[in-house]
Amino acid sequence: MDFTTVIFSAFALTLLGAGMGVILSRNPVHAALFLVLAFFTGAGLWMMLEAEFLAITLVLVYVGAVMVLFLFVVMMLNVDLDRLREGFWQHLPLGAGVALIMVAEMVLVVSSKQFSKLGADLQPASETVSNTRDLGMQLYTHYVYPFELASVILLVAIVAAIALTLRKRKDSKHLDPAQQVLVKASDRLRIVSMRSEGDQ
């Protein structure tokens, strides 16, 4: 067994364990942290496939930003597990049915002949040009329209999300820094000249 196999097994086992942890842990914060671990080990596996750009971007975007905000929300919520478990047995048949269909579909796709041929005719990335540069060239030349389309969809989603949550609060103590900077001493303070007690 060579060194890469050891590393692969370690990553694979950690990934499976973390995945189980996400759905089995009783505390939502623990579940979110298991998800972070799953992303991170997943990135490790991608790194072993020499897809370093994708691996590092996965860590940067999902671990570094998305999951931080996710944890932020989960920590603030007070999740009541008993309420979540209500009606578990009632919904079980439907849930199990959906799960079975999904597993069957995945098995069919992965075991098909087309799937194993996938990528067989692809050229390996050239040795002289870095992975990232290659990816950028493809993305901004061959796939520029799908790429632009995806970014427009994301932009619409951002604008929609902000528009949905934007509201003016009457009790907001908002300050305008431009106004604050322009304030002069005479606006706030009045100096009154009066005789001191000693003069009387």
């Binding site: 590092i56 931080v68 920590m75 870095s130 992975n131 990232t132």
Partner: protein, 347 residues
């Protein structure tokens, strides 16, 4: 000798050899962290017309060692309502990224632990994980103050990471590479320090130093600790060595940010003038300068109010980076890049 060891460890030799190199980098780093704490107290002391620590050893030089022994001897108290595992995981997660990022920092063209192509991306990914230590520590402490500190820190670090990332995008546009070695080499030239990135990217340089101060939770952006408002924020419940690890992580992060600033904007190991040789000492001198700026900030500025930090990040720094991104993009185009002064940098 090397061959004998190689035989002994067999397939695990690459891991063992990497471990040896890691120790060679981490040990001096820890020493630098210890003496940075002393430097901070001395510098701030002199700025406030005090002497600073001068009792332990000559000129107070043994003070960091005395501090370390004191912290080692103290009891680690775990609060009764705390999530014990996560409480102890918090400090570990905060020091891990601060150390792991050093794997790709080049000290000289040859002296780098791992010369990976996407090292700039790696740095961004690893440093973005530092926030977990703070967030987990704040939540696991089961204390209101600690939780407030963690929430503040999470929002602040995520906000400033965007400005930081855009600043780095302009750097990689200048050097056409994500590799830190290539980034330094792209700044090399006969004009010395005039050819470094800090002139064409000056606004980005300023944004990066400000965002770096905020990312490391240093004053004036230290609202995650905020002694006067939320006692000590996320590490209020920590004592002894667990507290010391947070402290170490903060200073290790400062040294890391200063190294990155030196490499990306100030030419790394390059000598500022042509007649002096390049070398590691230049990198250390530049790092010391940036570290001195951090200490100077702390001695000078009062703490920002929380909403002002957010305003600065989102409404000032990010627009500045977006504008400069376009400016650099335009200057790199064909007729402009060949013009007399611009061709110093945009080659």
């Amino acid at each position: 000798m090397m061959l004998m060891l190689q035989d002994f460890f067999g397939p695990f030799w690459p891991a063992v050899w990497a471990l040896v190199k890691i120790v060679v980098i981490v040990m001096p780093m820890m020493g630098a962290v210890a003496y940075l704490t002393l430097a901070e107290r001395k510098v701030i002391g002199y700025m406030q017309i005090r002497i600073g620590p001068n009792r332990v050893g000559p000129l107070g030089l043994l003070q960091p060692i005395a501090d370390a022994i004191k912290l080692l001897m103290k009891e680690i108290v775990v609060p009764a309502g705390a999530d014990k595992f996560l409480f102890l995981l918090g400090p570990v997660l905060s020091i891990m990224p601060a150390l792991a990022a050093w794997a790709v920092i080049p000290f000289t063209p040859e002296l780098v632990l791992s010369n990976v192509d996407a090292s700039l991306l790696y740095i961004m990914a690893i440093t973005s994980m530092g926030v977990y230590g703070v967030v987990i520590a704040g939540w696991a402490s089961n204390s209101k103050y600690a939780f407030l500190g963690a929430m503040r820190s999470a929002a602040q670090i995520v906000s400033y990471e965007i400005a930081m990332g855009f600043a780095l995008v302009t750097v990689l546009m200048m050097s056409h590479s994500l590799n830190l070695l290539e980034i330094v080499k792209a700044q090399q030239g006969p004009l010395g320090f005039l050819q470094w990135n800090w002139i064409p990217l000056f606004p980005m340089f300023v944004v990066y130093v400000i965002a770096g101060t905020a990312e490391t939770n240093r004053a004036p952006f230290d609202v995650a600790e905020g002694e006067s408002e939320i006692v000590a924020g996320f590490h209020v419940e920590y004592s002894g060595m667990t507290f010391a690890i947070f402290f170490l992580a903060e200073y290790a992060n400062m040294i890391l940010i200063s190294a990155l600033t030196s490499i990306m904007f100030m030419g790394g190991w390059l000598s500022p003038v042509g007649f002096l040789p390049d070398g590691m000492l230049w990198l250390f001198a530049k790092m010391s300068f940036v570290l001195f700026l951090f200490l100077w900030f702390r001695a000078t500025f009062p703490r920002y109010r929380y909403d002002q930090i957010m305003r600065l990040g989102w409404k000032v720094l990010i627009p500045v980076t977006l504008v400069w991104l376009v400016v650099v993009g335009i200057l790199m185009q064909e007729p402009l890049r060949g013009l007399p002064v611009l061709n110093i940098w945009f080659h």
